[in-house]
């Protein structure tokens, strides 16, 4: 079933929308949740919540890219769950590793207040990358895949990917500095 047909099911309040979403994008959403939570049980719970959240947001939304839209919901829910688990001294996955890496791009002395500027700077930064660099960066920090899997999906060695990500973080840091975001 195509995206537009699945979205039409959501708009028609047809519960088949959830079954079709799971059939088409369940694997992607589970992959995202598993990367963050490192727990099969939590992953299933998170993906189930994704379909409910999608049900609540369509209508009125009609996302142009349903797969990314659903994966973004999963990512958001999973990171929230990870925060909760961390507070409870549980949890694992790629989030702490990615946070450590991203800490190289932003300091802590001045809290980031203008998220709109941050998002625009990120988008400009990403649009300026080569296709392979953008894919690598987002496989790592959007999908939170391991460096190895991100590298494999980009046709690179893990060592090359690590070096490339290091350079990309340095470039992002410079881009943020230029926009006045303190590091």
């Amino acid at each position: 079933m195509e995206d537009r047909e699945i979205i039409a099911l959501y708009w028609a309040r047809d519960e088949a929308a959830i079954r079709e979403s799971d059939r088409r994008y369940g694997r992607t959403c589970r992959r995202v949740a598993q990367s963050i939570l490192a727990s099969r049980e939590d992953t299933e719970e998170c993906v189930s919540s994704t379909w409910l959240r999608a049900w609540e947001t369509m209508p009125p939304q009609r996302p142009p890219r349903l797969g990314v839209f659903l994966a973004a919901i999963t990512r958001h829910l999973a990171i929230d769950r990870w925060r909760h688990d961390t507070a409870q001294q549980r949890g694992g996955g790629q989030v702490p590793l990615c946070l450590d890496e991203l800490a190289e791009c932003v300091g802590e002395e001045t809290p980031i207040e203008d998220r709109m500027v941050l998002r625009q700077t990120l988008e400009t930064f990403l649009r300026g990358l080569t296709e392979q660099e953008r894919r690598l960066f987002l496989f790592r920090y959007w999908y939170l895949l391991t460096v190895r899997e991100a590298a494999g999906r980009c046709g690179m060695t893990a060592g090359a990917a690590k070096m490339r990500l290091l350079r990309l973080r340095q470039r992002l840091r410079e881009a943020l500095e230029q926009e006045g975001i303190e590091v």
């Binding site: 994008y25 990171i79 990615c98 998220r115 998002r119 080569t130 190895r148 046709g155």
Partner: protein
């Protein structure tokens, strides 16, 4: 909330158009029309290094090396950013990084050079080769699936215009970046405009006796895995005499990261070099030790033969390296004493790299770097990668 948490959260809120799909969306393919076009387009020209006929690439028109001549067009050896290889590779011993060189470098006096037919040299798509037509790419996906014994059910095409902004010609914007094919069993086949093919499985388990990982597989175990994979996928690879190798670099923690390759073996030194560098296959495991993906490549489909160019000797290349006539992304501050010295050259080999749209040979040097700036285990070494054009200087611009 900490700033790095805000950054991670904000990355999740960027324009969805920028986010690459993890699992591809699909649209119905126009198979009937494509099939008719494929029959009309099916032209097969033999080229060196291919002794079998089952490779998915074999039905595409390919550059032939049957007639060899001396190259005369001056070459620009400038490596584009992002194509200059790795800045550094870490290992306890250089032997961990060395790959087989099934040729006698001293026996090679000239090497073929190729010009990519459609390489973008500016903007964010710099270095991207978008040569193949959508029809060719659908054919490659279909033939790849057939070699795997499965069938493509749906495809989706991505054009350059789908993810870049201004600064490109209409023809470039209409170029096909990729065709993503979904097969009946869920296998994904991505064919790119430069002819590279990535087959992604949903974690394909290998028989229990094989140990296929990044960090805990020994060279002997890797050899066994590669023997199995090249045999299992023989009809996909299309190699006449398959050979394979693995090597392992390490992370800053000293953990191994092993890489797995296969290529078509030849007793001819030039053919052996071309096969290892240009038409090799890479196998990648997932973190559970299953087969994640296979990468295939064959630039003979996208590049024209410019001729054979005389090359300098390894000793001459080393002399140029020591004079500073090299290309590298390694910061000079990482070099011992700020320059490359002969005693820091750990290894050198011949490779092919794309320089401003030209596929040409380079000497690749592994140079031991100053590790005092890095936090890493004792005895772990960092090797910087440096390139010197192999083609004689009078034929370079």
């Amino acid at each position: 909330m900490k700033n790095n948490e805000i950054l991670l959260e904000t990355i999740g809120e960027i324009d969805p158009a920028l986010v690459p799909p993890l699992r591809r969306r699909t649209h119905p393919a126009v198979w009937a029309a494509a099939a008719a076009a494929l029959i009309a387009l099916a032209v097969t020209l033999p080229h060196m290094g291919k002794t079998a006929s089952a490779s998915p690439y074999d039905r595409l028109p390919q550059t032939s090396l049957a007639t060899r001549y001396a190259g005369e067009t001056p070459l620009d050896p400038t490596l584009l950013p992002g194509t200059a290889g790795f800045e550094g590779m870490m290992a306890y011993d250089i032997a961990e990084l060395q790959t087989p060189t099934p040729w006698d470098t001293a026996a090679i006096t000239a090497l073929p050079v190729f010009r990519e037919r459609a390489c973008i040299t500016e903007g964010s798509a710099m270095g991207m080769v978008l040569c193949l037509s959508e029809t060719d790419m659908i054919q490659l996906a279909d033939d790849t699936a057939a070699a795997l014994g499965i069938a493509v059910t749906k495809t989706e095409t991505t054009y350059l215009r789908d993810f870049v902004q201004g600064g490109y010609t209409d023809e470039q914007l209409a170029s096909v970046y990729s065709v993503e094919a979904t097969c009946e069993d869920g296998t994904q086949i991505a064919v790119y405009g430069d002819g590279k093919i990535c087959i992604t499985f949903d974690g394909l388990a290998l028989p229990d006796k094989y140990h296929f990982t990044y960090d805990t597989t020994t060279p002997a175990e890797a050899d066994a895995v590669l023997a199995y994979l090249t045999d299992r996928y023989a009809s996909l690879l299309g190699y006449g005499h398959a050979a394979w190798y693995s090597f392992a670099d390490r992370t800053f923690d000293g953990v191994e990261s092993r890489h797995y390759y296969a290529y078509d073996q030849s007793s001819d030194p030039v053919e052996a070099l071309l096969a290892k560098e240009l038409t090799c296959t890479q196998f990648a495991p997932d973190d559970a030790g299953r087969l994640l993906c296979i990468w295939l490549q064959d630039p003979y489909c996208t590049a024209d033969y410019l001729g054979d160019y005389p090359i300098v000797t390894a000793a001459e290349a080393e002399a140029r390296l020591l004079e500073g006539a090299y290309q590298s992304s390694v910061p000079e501050g990482y070099l011992k004493g700020g320059t490359v010295s002969a005693e820091d050259i750990a290894w050198q080999t011949l490779v092919y790299r794309e320089a401003n749209g030209t596929l040409m040979p380079f000497y690749q040097f592994y140079v031991t770097l100053d590790t005092s700036a890095f936090v890493m285990p004792e005895r772990l070494q960092n090797f910087g990668i440096f390139y010197v054009p192999a083609v004689q200087e009078d034929l370079l611009t």
